[in-house]
Amino acid sequence: MAEKKKLRIQDLAKIREKTRALTTIRESEGRAKVTVHMGTCGIAAGAREIMDALLDEMQKNKVQDVIVSTSGCAGLCNREPMATVEFKGQPPVKYVDLTPDKMRKIFAEHVLCGRVVPAHALAVGSETVY
């Protein structure tokens, strides 16, 4: 077996940077949170593809400080698939009638740059999971 590269002090910080996603998710303190609504209605309307697109964008853009979560039906089943984008200290924004492409756009605009995408947004407001 090939000898593994020995670490230097500066390597510790590099490992920490690489594993930031891990600490973010377990400490539950992301910069932002995206919730894909995955009730029965959401799944039937294609929430799965929305989730795939979102995770793909995250990976591609090497975003590590955004928490991705799922939730149940938001009560507006005819506008599914839906997703909610939430920034710390700001009211959450709900997006409706999503497609993977719309999700990618929302990710680029809202999650990365902080600009709400009014074309796909339903409303600003909150809901609780529990």
Binding site: K6, L12, R16, A21, L22, S28, M38, G39, V68, V129
Partner: protein, 605 residues
Amino acid sequence: MKQYRAHLLVCAGTGCVSCGAFKIKEALEKEIQKRKLQDEVLVIATGCNGFCERGPILMVHPDGVFYQQLKVGDVPFLVEEHLLKGRPVKKLMYIPPEEKEPIPKMKDIEFFKHQRLIVLRNRGRIDPEKVEEYIAFDGYEAMGKALAEMTPEKIIAEITASGLRGRGGAGFPTGKKWAAGRAAKGSPKYLICNGDEGDPGAFMDRSVLEADPHAVLEGMVIGAKAVGAEKGFIYIRHEYPLALKRVVIAIEQARDNGLLGEDILGTGFNFDLEIVEGAGAFVSGEETALIASVEGRIGMPRQRPPYPAQKGLWGKPTVINNVETWATVPNIILRGAKWFSGLGTKTSKGTKIFSLVGKINNTGLVEVPMGISLKDVIYGIGGGIPGGRDFKSIQIGGPSGGCIPAKMLDLPVDYESLTEAGAMMGSGGMIVMDDKTCMVDIAKYFLNFLRDESCGKCVSCREGTQRMWEIVKKITEGKGTERDLVVLEDVARTCKDASLCGLGQTAANPVLSTLQYFRHEYEAHILDKRCPAGVCTALIRYVVVAEKCTGCLACKTACPTQAIKGTLKDVHLIEQAKCIKCGACQEACRFEAIEAQREEAIQVI
């Protein structure tokens, strides 16, 4: 590193493993495969979460939802609901005793809320078998700092200023010990990690080793630089297979990554570790006995001084610290002595881990700031006594600790207060007892353990523990006399004063503290031939209370010796000649129709 949207952290401490944690993990992985979520959801095994009462335990992140007492059959539903549909499953959440609503998040549960995690900061948070995860949470940063930026003197000064005291029992200031090791002449110098945790009902060190083995390694490398040692030993009980396995993996990974061995982190510092397996003798927790055991001799203590810091392993300067002490060190180096000494009391700084067991609702492992009151531990974190019974006493400090009575519930938990009250910090075992516990019986139990574990070197301990046990046993059988109490106290004081090591010196604690606080119970056994708690079998007999008995046959079914006569809906009768007084009938009865009464025959004598 691959990104996942959810992490499932299965507790894989010994407690949860023994109730099926690995089967839960397997089922989770299978179900996640089946649902094609394997690229989104990561399942890992962590060290002990602490809430052992409720195992197997699963934490779901990022939500922070706490699931408990899982069964393999719950897994498909949980995965479908929580991970596929995003609906946390209420019925698998924790419901506090005597409440109806579940608490979804770990941080809101009383048991976790009042704890302050420093040594256990990574418990239930990282995979202890992956060094990257330890590094992700600031692991080995303190070591880097100590090796690159600090002189040995500065490290010792920092530890001294922090006020850290040995977590293994006696509470000797760690900085002072290191300074003595540094000043001692002789080479090579050695470090030892004392993981010989032998107290019944205590599992602090085991959990630290299982949940965060790298923290111990990191602490030892820092200590090595301070003391000037190049070689260290980790002494672990053979009975801790999981802890052993994880330490072996940790050492391998640390070596592979240049975190242990030669030229650590490229700083030119060398230090390596070796594991020594202990055969499980309680006395080997004593440092000179432990050294003897590492050297391959019988674990027996010797006269001090010279202290191990001067003449230890193979006659060379040796610094021995307990697992918890070593694991505390990186926190102090990283966050500073001032931060650490800001926690705790005037003489006892920082936090301490306790294993909370016995008659308590929330059995488990807790880390609390020093100086917290017993009441906060028992009623706040521990959730009180099951079945609404009364709290009677808490036994602190392992078998040779002492029993503290209910009236002293406001006692702060620190080294001095506990010793003054007749108990001791010990390594941190806390055994809670309710009003159905007989204190004489408890003293007998611990004396039985100690007479077994006494190494036999000192007469006062070898004979003392044996005689104390015999006398207390006699008392529990209703054959004690008033004279026995005088002899008992005398033997106890001799054992305390004349024994060489900590075992003998504290072996009398169970007797002395129960005599001090519960003398009336001894007297009831001797004078009235009565066991007030109804525990000592020679002094009680079980009878059916005719007015309460519904004739349900539950006791009859439970009785292992067929001593109970009766038919359905008729009052039952216990045949005393056949009864072995095991109490199974009393436990089985739902109508409190079985009473432990005073044994009449003995009363006549």
